[in-house]
Symmetry: C2
Subunit: 206 residues, 2 copies
């Protein structure tokens, strides 16, 4: 389904929002999509803002006005691909919360763009700007995980001295490895067994 | 310290072994080292056996005689870098065995060659020969892990229905992620806490 650039009768939901944003919103979307595609093709180091602007059909000054540095543009493109930040879920139990988060992670991570991106960032991680970007994105990614784990700790559900980041890593890293390193499917039974294994190890009692 | 190719007086330990193998053993070592270096530089797809032969100072037919296909040469080079296959440890406890294995993994994984290699293989994993090679290497890597976990299961130490591969992945994947994706140090306290977390989740009782 494509979206016409020309105004048409206000039939669809979201039409009002598109109207308010208008051309500027469309430009942002086109530039970020072009940046993501270019990033997948050539990686961070070789990405040229001029080429992104050309692919999006806009002037490069238009791009620079909104994103003064390449790092800003790439960060915005990745955040756009990733979608809005996740609020920490509240299913009523630590296992329920962790399962919710890892299901979302697996569902998002399985997209082809994410795959290309993850590889690029693995290969280019020694680039100082990539390093900084990866660190910032990682912190954003971890935030809802740390929130639900700390909430469970505050309720006394975790063993004293539990490390929230370790718990998060023990659940997300195996899923990343399967999807990106070994190209193996991750089904819901796998996710459930993984959450059970790690949560059981972290919980203060059974 | 370089090793002279010309025969010299038998003073050093290992001299006898070198004598027995002689030139042929030296050729193997030089070719495999050159193949590993080339792999780190250009990756699998772009690696040319001719260039490896030239870098090792041998004729390409010498290389082809021993390793008929590029995949054979690369597999041999990686196995040489990795060192001899690990026998499953037997420390007397599952946690002791797992800690032994993850310490060895972290120590080996931290070498610069391994880092280059891991990234290459992450990026080139869609190449059919790389896929096959990675699968074979992964199975070799998993073997001692599965052996110690199955032994613990046979002793009744694990919860019924425990998945040995899941346990192995929950321990190795976070270490891989820290070292290769996030360039973060992994110290012994981290390894101990990770093994405790996952083993506690897998054990049938505390």
């Amino acid at each position: 389904m494509t979206r016409s650039a020309a105004p048409d009768p206000p039939r669809r939901t979201g039409e009002r929002r598109a109207r308010i944003g208008g051309r500027s919103e469309r430009v942002v979307r086109d530039v970020l999509q072009a940046a993501a595609a270019e990033l997948g093709k050539v990686g961070y180091a070789a990405l040229r803002v001029e080429n992104v602007a050309a692919a999006a059909g806009v002037n490069k000054t238009t791009v620079y006005r909104r994103w003064p540095a390449k790092a800003d543009l790439v960060a915005a493109a990745i955040r756009e691909m990733r979608g809005p930040a996740q609020a920490p879920p509240d299913t009523g139990s630590l296992r329920g919360d962790l399962l919710h988060l890892i299901r979302e992670y697996a569902a998002r991570a399985a997209s082809p763009e994410k795959k290309i991106l993850a590889r690029m960032l693995t290969v280019e991680q020694d680039h100082p700007e990539v390093k900084q970007l990866v660190r910032a994105l990682r912190e954003e990614h971890q935030a809802p995980w740390l929130a639900v784990i700390r909430r469970a700790a505050a309720r006394g559900e975790l063993r004293p001295g539990s490390d929230p980041r370790l718990i998060q890593e023990a659940i997300t890293a195996p899923v990343f490895s399967r999807l990106f390193r070994h190209d193996e499917p991750v089904d819901d039974a796998y996710l459930g067994a993984l959450v059970d294994l790690v949560a059981r190890g972290a919980e203060s009692s059974r």
